[in-house]
């Protein structure tokens, strides 16, 4: 135990001495969380800029325009009066949606002639696209209902009668777990998990490569200290820092970004603990195998986007091919992100995250096993021909 604590003590000293490493361990996760938090803080996409090309200019067409103007989801952009201007506005991003009311619209309606309102929206960005489509339908559903009500009132029905008729059959939609359609509730915690994963992995995965580069690894190898103690000592500070960051980022997300983090606290802690063990152990394992810090840094950083995208956290896994899902399930981030959503957003109990917990436990076991069984012997350096940055060194101005 004294040996482990001693190794941990000196690793800790090192973290405090190396400024950039210190920043990475203690500040970068929060920095990224704040940055992404600021990006997603508005949570709901409102004020979609819409242009209304009213070629009819009748009472009815103005009512339609008013319906859009009154919706909190839309912001009517003035000054776009023709189809050509609308086309231009859609191309240069001034508007994301348009409503075109054809000439003689009101007349045609009263004559039961064929006519229709054309709505367009920008499909090139599907966050605009999906939301705008939904908003357009909402506005029109309300508008049509309103018109029917006034028509019925015109027929001489009283208010209550109108309401009774209108409500005959209603399809009430309830949205569970995220009733406000908050994009932040949906996405943000996934990003947090990737931040913790990547920055955690990156910090701990330099712990042995650094010793290799400075040849101090020889001191570890020639000393009679077993591999598991080296792992335990070196990983301990990162494990503690990792868990601290987990708690800090959850608090930050809930407090400042207003992300919904509900569900059982012990479950959230358990998930975080397992995730932290995996990250620390996997990072240490990578570190014992990697030739130098530069290569680790490069490869680990490039993993961020694919890790997030293949997890099924955004684009649902039901619509992802089986082999990609298989690949994704070999990764702890997938289980963590999906499991965390089950607990924190859907507030489900233990039985719904058991598969996630078992998967994480298995991965934690394997990662620790891999980390503690690294060989304390090196292969003699291979004769790689003219090569650069593949051995235990990389360009550095001050050694």
């Amino acid at each position: 135990m004294r040996q482990i604590l001693n190794i941990a003590h000196y690793e800790m000293l090192h973290i405090f001495k190396e400024k950039i490493l210190f920043l990475m361990v203690f500040l970068v996760p929060l920095g990224y969380a704040a940055l992404f938090g600021a990006a997603y803080v508005s949570a709901v996409l409102n004020n979609v800029p819409v242009a209304i090309v009213d070629l009819d200019d009748s009472k009815l067409s103005r009512e339609i325009a008013a319906a859009f103007a009154n919706s909190p989801h839309f912001k009517v952009i003035d000054g776009i009066k023709t189809y050509a201007e609308l086309q231009e506005g859609m191309k240069n991003g001034r508007v994301r949606a348009g409503v075109i009311i054809p000439e003689h619209f009101e007349q045609d309606i009263s004559r039961h002639a064929l006519t229709r309102v054309l709505t367009i929206y920008d499909g090139s960005n599907l966050i605009w696209g999906y939301n705008t489509r939904k908003y357009i339908r909402e506005v029109f559903n309300d508008f049509i209902a309103g018109r029917a009500a006034s028509y019925l009132a015109g027929l001489g029905y009283t208010k209550n009668e109108v309401r009774a008729i209108m409500d005959t059959v209603s399809l009430n939609t309830e949205v569970w777990y995220n009733p406000t359609f908050s994009y932040t509730n949906f996405l943000y915690m996934g990003l947090i998990m990737i931040i913790l994963h990547q920055i955690g992995l990156l910090s701990v995965s330099l712990t042995v490569t650094r010793e290799k580069e400075r040849r101090t690894w020889l001191q570890f190898l020639s000393a009679p200290v077993p591999a598991w103690k080296i792992f335990a000592g070196k990983a301990l500070p990162y494990f503690v820092a990792g868990f601290f960051n987990y708690a800090l980022l959850l608090w930050f997300a809930a407090r400042f970004i207003q992300v919904k983090i509900g569900g059982s606290l012990p479950l959230i802690l358990l998930l975080g603990l397992l995730y932290d063990v995996i990250i620390t152990a996997a990072g240490f394992f990578i570190s014992t195998r990697a030739p130098n810090s530069l290569q680790v840094t490069r490869y680990v950083m490039l993993l961020s986007v694919p890790l997030f995208m293949i997890s099924g956290f955004t684009w649902p896994w039901t619509h992802i091919p089986a082999y990609i899902n298989f690949l994704a399930r070999l990764l702890p981030s997938t289980w963590m992100m999906l499991g965390f959503r089950q607990v924190a957003l859907k507030e489900l109990e233990m039985s719904y995250v058991l598969p996630h917990i078992w998967a994480l436990i298995l991965m934690a076991f394997l990662a620790v096993l891999a980390a503690v069984t690294f060989p304390k012997r090196l292969n003699p350096p291979p004769d790689a021909g003219p090569a650069i940055n593949s051995g235990p060194s990389y360009p550095s101005r001050w050694k």
Binding site: Y10, L13, A223, P224, P381, D383
Partner: protein, 235 residues
């Protein structure tokens, strides 16, 4: 006398190059064996195998009667001074002593004694990264001796360092040997041959043993020969 290092048919191939070609050697307790050779002759390769750092291609190596391929246990008997600086550069001298003592699971009581004997008192607060060669080498030796090793493996124990430090190191080496310790010392400077009991001359992957005096004579003869440093290769 007890045999502390027994090497049989040790071969090390790196890529296509055979660095060590079927070496056999024995070192007895209390002996100081010098491994002499030019740069790239395989001294460090041999020492790193003996210290249980590098894997090797074939052969059998026993340290203190333990097959080093089987277990790590022999490392409690080991002290290592490396050729390139391998102490922790982000720590100062005292912290290095403390940390390496912890790695070796050696008691702290040795530290004070070694600080005194190797006269490290004045450099204890210096960061190792900026230390001069002489004090650094003394510190490296102190670190190697922290666990009272039975076998000291020293790669270029003394390089081009100040004479004062050299004297202290040689004095400590003598004490170590007198106390029953064994030393394997890799050297590329023939000048130090007189401090060892036996010289193993490493060349082209083979080792040949000479008494120090004879090794020195051969070396001087080679320096005189018209073929120059390349030598006639009879070693």
């Amino acid at each position: 006398m007890e045999t502390i290092v027994a090497v049989k048919d040790l071969t090390q191939k790196i890529g296509r190059k055979t660095v060590l070609d079927g070496l056999t050697l024995e070192v007895r307790a209390g002996e100081c064996l010098g491994i002499f050779g030019m740069k790239g002759s395989g001294k460090t390769a041999l020492l790193h195998i003996l210290a249980g750092i590098d894997r090797f291609t074939s052969g059998k190596v026993e340290v203190a009667g333990i097959d080093i391929r089987r277990t790590e246990k022999f490392k409690i008997y080991l002290g290592l001074v490396t050729q390139e600086r391998s102490l922790f550069q982000d720590l100062n001298a005292a912290e290095n002593l403390d940390f390496i003592a912890a790695l070796k699971n050696a008691g702290r009581d040795n530290i004070d004694r070694l600080i005194e004997r190797l006269e490290l008192g004045e450099v204890l607060n210096q960061p190792v990264g900026h230390m001069e060669a002489g004090p650094y080498q003394r510190l490296a030796l102190a670190c190697a001796l922290l666990n009272n090793p039975r076998l000291l493996i020293a790669d270029e124990l003394i390089g081009a360092i100040d004479l004062y430090s050299r004297r202290i190191i040689l004095r400590e080496l003598e004490t170590f040997l007198a106390g029953g310790g064994t030393c394997i010392w890799a050297l590329s400077n023939a000048e130090f041959m007189r401090h060892v009991h036996r010289v193993g001359w490493l060349e082209k992957g083979k080792i040949t043993f000479y008494p120090p005096a004879e090794a020195l004579t051969r070396w001087n003869a080679r320096l005189q020969s018209p073929a120059g440093q390349g030598g006639d290769g009879d070693a």
